[in-house]
């Protein structure tokens, strides 16, 4: 049998994705923008009262232990998970095929699994001015005590819905709809010009 070949996924940002330094970078680059391109992005939702079993299923399949509490999350650089709504979680893996790994773990009695790998575009913003640029976009508190490492937030920027995970002390991963990703990316580039940005 021929080996199954997955087609290479095309980035929606491509026409506007220009690696290099941009904006006001003469005095240094204060944010780095990139597209993380994970293989799997899943949305898991628990029926009311089944949240603990869903969190346990996430731990079994990914090895990620989600902390208690609203918006709790964890990221290990390869896999990431965070709560974005009551009983709902986003789970991300660099590798493809995470939906298949979950297929037996999320039974119909626990909840549902939606594969959004092709439906969301994750954009990463990192650097000393990442909080500053994010604060221009979203009306939420990005300070570390209010938005701890690994935690997730649901919010929006001019009706572009965004799920944000803090994946580092000065690093955020923003999950936006694929169809809005290029527009959002352009806006993010414009917002980063004043601090000097680099696209990786």
């Amino acid at each position: 049998m021929a080996e199954h070949q997955l087609p290479e996924r095309q980035s929606p940002l491509e026409p506007e994705y220009h690696p290099g330094s941009h904006g006001n970078f003469e005095h240094g680059v204060d944010v780095i923008l990139s597209e993380t391109r994970p293989g799997s992005i899943l949305q898991l939702a628990a029926w009311p009262g089944e949240e603990k079993r869903l969190i346990e299923a996430i731990r079994k399949v990914t090895g990620l232990g989600l902390p208690d509490g609203a918006g709790g999350g964890v990221s290990n650089g390869v896999r990431a998970a965070f709560g974005f709504a009551p009983g709902k979680f986003t789970v991300v893996d660099e590798a493809e095929g995470l939906a298949a790994a979950f297929a037996g773990a999320i039974t119909p009695a626990i909840g549902t699994l939606t594969d959004l790998s092709h439906g969301r575009t994750p954009i990463r913003i990192a650097g000393p001015k990442a909080e500053w640029v994010m604060a221009k976009f979203f009306a939420i508190d990005f300070a570390l005590p209010a938005f701890p490492l690994g935690a997730g937030r649901s919010t929006n920027h001019h009706d572009i819905f965004a799920q944000i995970q803090r994946s580092g002390a000065d690093q955020f991963d923003i999950y936006v709809f694929r169809s809005f990703a290029r527009s959002f990316w352009k806006a993010l580039c414009h917002a980063s010009e004043e601090v000097g940005y680099e696209v990786h």
């Binding site: 009311p48 918006g71 009306a139």
Partner: protein, 92 residues
């Protein structure tokens, strides 16, 4: 105006959608009681003060909320999930 979502914490009102009066009692779908249906569709308390309302955090976690808002001052007196079941610790 800030509304404290029980899941997301305090957020700007722009993230929320008003879903209507929270005092209405929907008759059973098979009910033939026209007065009850009329009251459900048209009758509103319209108080000048505290008012039970249903809101949705449509620009955030998308949860439906029970909100008590003062119609004179816009003060939000309380927020809670419209549906029980999801026991989530608030961040606020």
């Amino acid at each position: 105006m800030l509304i404290t979502c029980p899941y997301c914490g305090p957020r700007d009102v722009i993230e929320f959608t008003y879903q209507g009066d929270g005092n209405r009692k929907r008759p059973q779908p098979a009910s033939q009681d026209l007065d009850a249906w009329n009251a459900y569709v048209y009758d509103r308390l319209n108080p000048a003060g505290d008012h039970n309302e249903i809101w949705q955090h449509s620009g955030g976690c998308r949860a439906h909320l029970r909100v008590v808002r003062n119609t004179l001052t816009h003060e939000i007196l309380s927020t809670a999930f419209a549906r029980g079941g999801h026991k989530t610790e608030s961040r606020s």
